[in-house]
């Protein structure tokens, strides 16, 4: 009864509501206008490290562009693309949107469009005979600049064939083609036949789904253990095989793969190189004696940055790298011109920003030459995809010279290059997606064609 008496009559009630609404109208206006002013006066970014791209630039005005509608569209695009604090705001929104569901059994799954086909049992087939060209390696002309205009870019990240996140670790589903594996093996066998004086090494690097798939998916797709074994069986005598699959298997409880990136960690790289150096009778790198261990928290890798796995924003990881204590010189060449672009002394790590995996030797950008003081008389050329980028700091312990060559961007004559540089060893270091996928044709183009 008392409550009813205390109730306000309708006009009074309306006044209260009116007052509240007015406050919010002013607040809305404040948000709109302050937003408008801030977006006008704050400095706009020109590059997005997260997206690895230049952001839009202010369009230049012309009547014809205005007439075609291009100017206004470009102006709007510039405005939207270069919002101040873009990266921070993007991460905040990703964090919010990451709560759009649950991780059933701790699993997130992102398989675009169709589910990938479960690979049918492919016949093993036979390896074609190794052929030798009319001219031998010594007779081919010296290395020519690449004719390619292809640059390292993020296109490789668009090949999302299915990503699973399990226990806060993202990984790609794997399947391989035996025909591609045969191309890969044929390439190594051909190289070894044509240049028998070289030590040819094969390093098949499994992707992380080889070890960490959730039980419900394990065995459903390609079997990397089987495929590694298949490749090994195809390699002719004289080609050395670094059994990375089994080496890493012993360390699955350690951080041998990155959780937010499709690459392995530098620790995984270390174990693989350690195994190779043992086989090659070269000085084995020692993490504590030969390297300074550094780390950075809060890393988000390619799965978050390029594969659009927004939920990973909640699981940043600590990235660890190992900087050599010993001395060395690096020279970086452009793939287009084969001219020196940069040099550095005792420094192989740059770009201290995400994705951290790319910090070594500018990622895939340059053909890299490392000169060390190992004095073993051994020189190695590494033909690699991005998984091979991180080998150089560890190989530097045992090789006098290291040439790091991206098989996707190098368009010169590989045989002439190897002969010209006087290498003693050639290492093919690439992930199973490359060796068992269409990218194995890069090897074939370099060494068989």
């Amino acid at each position: 009864m008392e409550n009813q008496q205390q109730e306000l009559n309708r006009p009074q009630r309306n006044n209260v509501l009116f007052a509240i609404r007015i406050v919010f109208v002013y607040l809305f206006f404040a948000v709109l206008l302050s937003g408008a002013v801030l977006l006008l006066v704050l400095e706009r970014p020109s590059y997005s490290q997260d997206e690895k791209r230049e952001l839009a630039t202010m369009p230049s005005f012309s009547l014809s562009a205005l007439y075609k509608g291009e100017y206004t569209e470009a102006l709007q695009y510039f405005y939207n693309d270069t919002i101040p604090y873009r990266s921070e705001l993007k991460r905040f929104s990703d964090r919010v949107l990451s709560y759009k569901g649950f991780a059933q059994d701790d699993v997130y799954i992102d398989i675009p469009g169709d589910l990938p086909p479960i690979p049918s049992e492919e016949p093993d087939g036979t390896l074609p005979p190794v052929t030798t060209p009319g001219t031998n390696a010594e007779e081919v002309p010296a290395v020519t600049p690449s004719q390619s205009t292809e640059k390292p870019n993020v296109n490789e990240f668009s090949q999302n064939q299915g990503i699973v996140t399990y226990k806060k670790r993202a990984m790609e589903l794997y399947w391989g083609s035996k025909a591609s594996m045969r191309d890969y093996a044929l390439s190594l066998n051909t190289l070894q036949t044509r240049m028998p004086e070289l030590n040819v090494w094969s390093m098949n690097i499994p992707i992380s789904s080889a070890y960490y798939l959730p039980p419900s998916l394990a065995g459903k797709y390609g079997d990397q253990e089987q495929d590694c074994a298949y490749i090994r069986s195809l390699l002719q005598e004289g080609v050395y095989y670094v059994d990375v699959y089994n080496v890493l298997k012993k360390h699955v409880d350690e951080d041998i793969y990155l959780r937010t990136d499709h690459h392995w960690s530098y620790l995984g790289v270390f174990y693989a190189v350690e195994e190779m150096m043992k086989q090659a009778n070269l000085p084995v790198p020692n993490l504590s004696d030969d390297y300074v261990t550094k780390s950075k928290d809060g890393n988000l890798g390619s799965f978050y940055l390029y594969f659009d796995q927004k939920h990973l924003v909640n699981y940043p990881e600590t990235f660890t790298w190992y900087e050599p204590k010993f001395s060395f010189d690096c020279t970086y060449y452009s793939y287009d011109t084969m001219q020196v672009v940069k040099t550095s002394q005792n420094k192989m790590f740059f770009y201290y920003s995400e994705p951290f995996y790319d910090m070594v030797n500018y990622g895939d950008s340059y053909l890299t030459h490392v000169k060390t003081s190992a004095n073993t008389g051994r020189k190695v050329a590494v033909f690699k995809d991005s998984f091979g980028n991180a080998l150089a700091p560890f190989l530097a312990k045992g090789f006098d010279e290291i040439w790091v060559i991206d098989l996707r961007y190098f368009k010169g004559d590989a045989y002439a290059f190897l002969a010209e540089k006087g290498v003693t060893d050639v290492l093919m270091a690439s992930c199973m997606f490359t060796n068992a996928g269409y990218k194995s044709s890069y090897y074939k183009n370099l060494f068989v064609s």
């Binding site: 509501l17 609404r21 919010f24 937003g35 709007q76 405005y79 939207n80 905040f92 949107l97 589910l115």
Partner: protein, 467 residues
Amino acid sequence: MNFSNLFFLYAFLPATLLLYYLIPNIHYRNAVLIFVSLIFYAWGNPTMVLLLLLVCIVNYFLGRGIGAAPGMKKGKLFLSVGLVLNIGLLFVYKYLAFFLETVNLLPKVSLPIPNIIMPLGLSFFTFRIISYLLDVYWEKVSAERSFPVFLLFVSLFPCTVAGPIVRYQTIFKCLHSRKHSREDLWYGFMRLSVGLGKKVILADQLYMVTEHYFSGSLQNLSVAEAWFALLVYTMYVYFDFSGYSDMAIGIARLFGFRFEENFRYPFVCTTISEFWQRWHISLGSFFRDYLLYVPIFGKMRIYGGLFLVWFSTGLWHGASWNYVIWGLYFGLFILLETKIGKKKMKKIPVFIRHIYTKFVIALGFGIFYFTDLSRMGVFFKCLFGLDGNGLIHEFSSVYMMNHLILVLISLLCIFPWVPFFKKKLERHTATIAVGECVCGILLLALFILSSIILVSSTNQPFLYTQF
């Protein structure tokens, strides 16, 4: 330009509001609105604004002609010219290529297909003009004397691009004189925030889930996935379009215009007829008022009218046969319900009516999505398990669970909880005051959050801008 765009929200809209409210006189304010509306329309394709102006000029004089002789032969002539011109314009820009493609299906016919770019919002503004001409002819409204006011009616930016189909009789008073209360501003911001949230937080995210399933070959979809995808797509269309309508209504209110509702919680319907009274109301009422009773079918008027309305409703949505099938599909159920009768329909238990309507609506949106009829066939086979993919894949549930909160929130948002709670709160001043404060804070947060999400999201244009 569209509304869910940072440039629009933080440059175009504040500048327009400032300019508008700094000017006291209604005529100058109308001039400001015409100016910004033409800029808005011309943004991506300035040449099309000339077409809009030409359409306005022609129809202004036609309207005056009809108004001078309503119901008379002269008026009828002007009306006929107006209808032929406007429908002809729509036909040429939107349907000519489709028509020729269809004709080319005939043996030994191979007509060249013109590549015509459809002006933005053509379907919406031609329908608004047609309704105006008919209303003038039927003397429901007087012909507009002022050309600037008529130009404002046709070009008013909140409803030019993707509706709603606001009729002249709804806003003619506002076009001439309107009051601007702070309540209007409150309401405008409220609807703007809700619409933006629906679009950015729900529709755009649901769209990604839809594309996850629909963008591939569909061959591997299990029954559960197909139904899940259909549910998500149905909600996506609703939030995308109703979000746009909310924003249009809200923005218009900021400038003192009151538009009628375009969506009234369509999924609470218990019959398909009711669904269409709640879904895209401005389009449904347009066809009901101007097309249903066209006396061209003689004794078959009911069937003929229904066929015409639903054929046109389908075709209006796009120049593709799937839209026609979609329209006729709904027409069929409405005919069925008409035959059963309202009383008998009401005797059917409510939950069965709910299941029936949601089933029919969802299947309808399956037709709506696939412009490729062969893909539509594949999808429907998956939907009913005729493709042998089984009920559910081993890990189908994982992806569904990964998006479950989004889907549940979307499901919650399609029901009228807000009016329900508002009614409950209205009993006491204290509760309604607290409710209003909470509502204001939530709407502000929604607006800011949606803006932040827009920074990183790929800008998805509104689905209905293509119509």
